[in-house]
């Protein structure tokens, strides 16, 4: 039986705690860099099939259009991808936040999306990596789509995996109309190793 389908409550709690601590550190770093208070939700951890991820994404935003970016990471046998979904009302605020003063054309928007993703995601994953004593390499962020319904952005019926460990976190930045959701998706192959690391923390 796959380890991923037998994720115990203890493991889940511990993972949630690790992520929570990482997010706290990330929030602190981000607040210092961006000079604003970052409100983070409690991470929600679940083992999901592609269809579940699609459902989770739809509940994030059913009729609004969003912009999405993904970034891959790998290290020491753990691999995955982060997806960041921005609601579409907030580009001007995002530009203000990132001190971006050039004209906001679609090219500039892409850059803004990629930079913000890199910062938010890097800050969070770094925290997780430190706690489980690992280091990850990051691929460059890729824009999945701009101003589209979520359903158009991912072709989740064509993916080649069965289950993955999904952590969902939402970010809100105080005084800015910037709201985004981060999905941290780890592959099935990573789970065994991740659980070993968690066992070490639990033991």
């Amino acid at each position: 039986m796959n380890a991923i389908l037998n994720l115990s409550e203890d493991h889940r709690d511990c993972l949630q705690e690790v992520t929570n601590v990482a997010m706290g550190q990330a929030g602190d770093r981000l607040a210092r860099l961006l000079d604003t208070f970052v409100v983070l939700s409690i991470p929600h951890i679940q083992v999901m099939a592609p269809a579940d991820v699609a459902m989770a994404l739809q509940s994030v935003d059913s009729d609004q259009t969003v912009s999405g970016v993904c970034q891959g990471f790998i290290g020491g046998g753990i691999a995955g991808e982060a997806m960041l979904l921005f609601n579409d009302t907030s580009f001007e605020d995002l530009a203000k936040l990132m001190n971006y003063d050039s004209k906001l054309d679609s090219q500039a928007e892409i850059e803004l999306l990629m930079d913000t993703t890199n910062i938010l995601f890097g800050a969070c994953l770094k925290g997780i990596a430190e706690q489980i004593d690992m280091e990850f390499s990051f691929g460059p962020p890729m824009v999945l789509g701009q101003h589209q319904p979520v359903s158009k952005m991912f072709k989740l019926d064509e993916v080649k995996w069965d289950h993955a460990l999904v952590t969902e976190i939402s970010y809100t930045l105080e005084n800015y109309n910037v709201q985004c959701d981060l999905l941290l998706i780890m592959t099935e192959k990573s789970i065994d190793l991740l659980l070993k690391k968690i066992d070490y923390l639990l033991g």
Binding site: R29, R32, L33, Y100, I110, N118, G122, F138, P140
Partner: protein, 320 residues
């Protein structure tokens, strides 16, 4: 002593790797002073390390936008996280020649780059490293595919002889216009016209002459209409134009202009000078039309009347 020798040996080949690896490596301190400039960077920038090391990055490379770069670099120093730039955002950080100056078609080297934090012995980040990757091949391929797709899209939308929209695309665009009207009515009219006695031109001068007549007709249409109007080749010698924000009175002015221009036109084919005329029908889009076909039908009826009343004229459809 032996240990020191070993260390120096190891250090030496390690440096060799850094020097000779075929990606650019640049190390900067907090003031953006250049501390390392490997062979890749030396060779492509044609500048010796002596001339570069210890210099400020932005003074040495004024084309690198300082605000943009420092914003990226600041996040690396502060968050101790890598930052990325891709050729799609910005084609290059350093303007270098294409690696294939002879057979390559790119004007410059497209670059992806990663800016990574470098920790010192105390775990602080006082230096950053820019890694510059040459991605010209990938970028050029991607750009060529994009260009080919645009060309294919154009070919699939237009009529090969005239360059006007083909019937399928015209109908698609006209249907969109019709749907917009249904939701929120605005002034809109349709001109349908065809070439008078076109069969005689074909029979008298041959089909290539007929083709030339059609080509010149399309050219005349394009000269007389605005960019917002939707002109298409509907059939053999039949043309259609959706006039946006224009009622039939406005459309008839345009129609008459086209008619007179065509009447005055001499199409030269081989030794022949071909004169010809067109007949036009115009219809307003009103709430009475239930679909695009009815709209087209009305303009067609007006065109039929124009033919019946002696050709080379314009008739506006009147609902009976």
């Amino acid at each position: 002593m032996e240990q020191t020798d070993n260390f120096l040996d190891d250090f030496h080949w390690l440096m060799d790797v850094l020097q000779n690896i075929d990606v650019g490596l640049v190390v900067l301190d907090e003031n953006y002073t250049i501390q390392l400039w490997n062979s890749f960077m030396q060779n492509h920038s044609a500048s010796r390390p002596e001339a570069i090391l210890g210099c400020n990055l932005f003074d040495t490379f004024p084309e690198l936008p300082e605000d943009w770069f420092t914003r990226k670099a600041q996040s690396v120093f502060m968050l101790k996280n890598a930052a990325f730039t891709t050729w799609e955002q910005r084609p290059y950080l350093f303007k270098f020649e294409n690696y294939r100056p002879v057979t390559g078609i790119a004007e410059f080297m497209y670059q992806n780059s990663t800016i990574i934090p470098l920790k010192n012995t105390r775990g602080e980040v006082k230096h950053i490293c820019i890694i510059v990757y040459d991605v010209t091949e990938v970028a050029v391929n991607r750009l060529q595919i994009k260009k080919a797709n645009e060309k294919l899209r154009h070919i699939s939308r237009t009529d090969g002889l005239t360059g006007l929209l083909n019937r399928k695309t015209w109908e698609y665009d006209a249907t969109k216009e019709f749907k917009c009207f249904e939701r929120n009515p605005f002034k809109c009219s349709l001109i349908m016209f065809d070439i008078d006695h076109f069969k005689k031109i074909n029979d008298g001068y041959g089909h290539p002459a007929g083709d030339e007549v059609i080509r010149q007709t399309a050219k005349t249409v394009l000269e007389q209409i605005r960019e917002i109007d939707i002109a298409g080749r509907y059939g053999g010698e039949e043309f259609c134009i959706i006039m946006r924000n224009t009622d039939s009175d406005g459309a008839s002015i345009v129609a008459e202009r086209i008619r007179k221009a065509i009447e005055a036109l001499d199409v030269c084919y081989e030794q022949h000078k071909i004169k010809f005329t067109i007949s036009l029908g115009i219809a307003d889009l009103t709430k009475n039309e239930k679909n695009l076909t009815q709209f087209i039908d009305n303009a067609d009826k007006a065109l039929y009347k124009a033919k019946q009343s002696g050709r080379n004229n314009t008739v506006i459809f009147q609902a009976s």
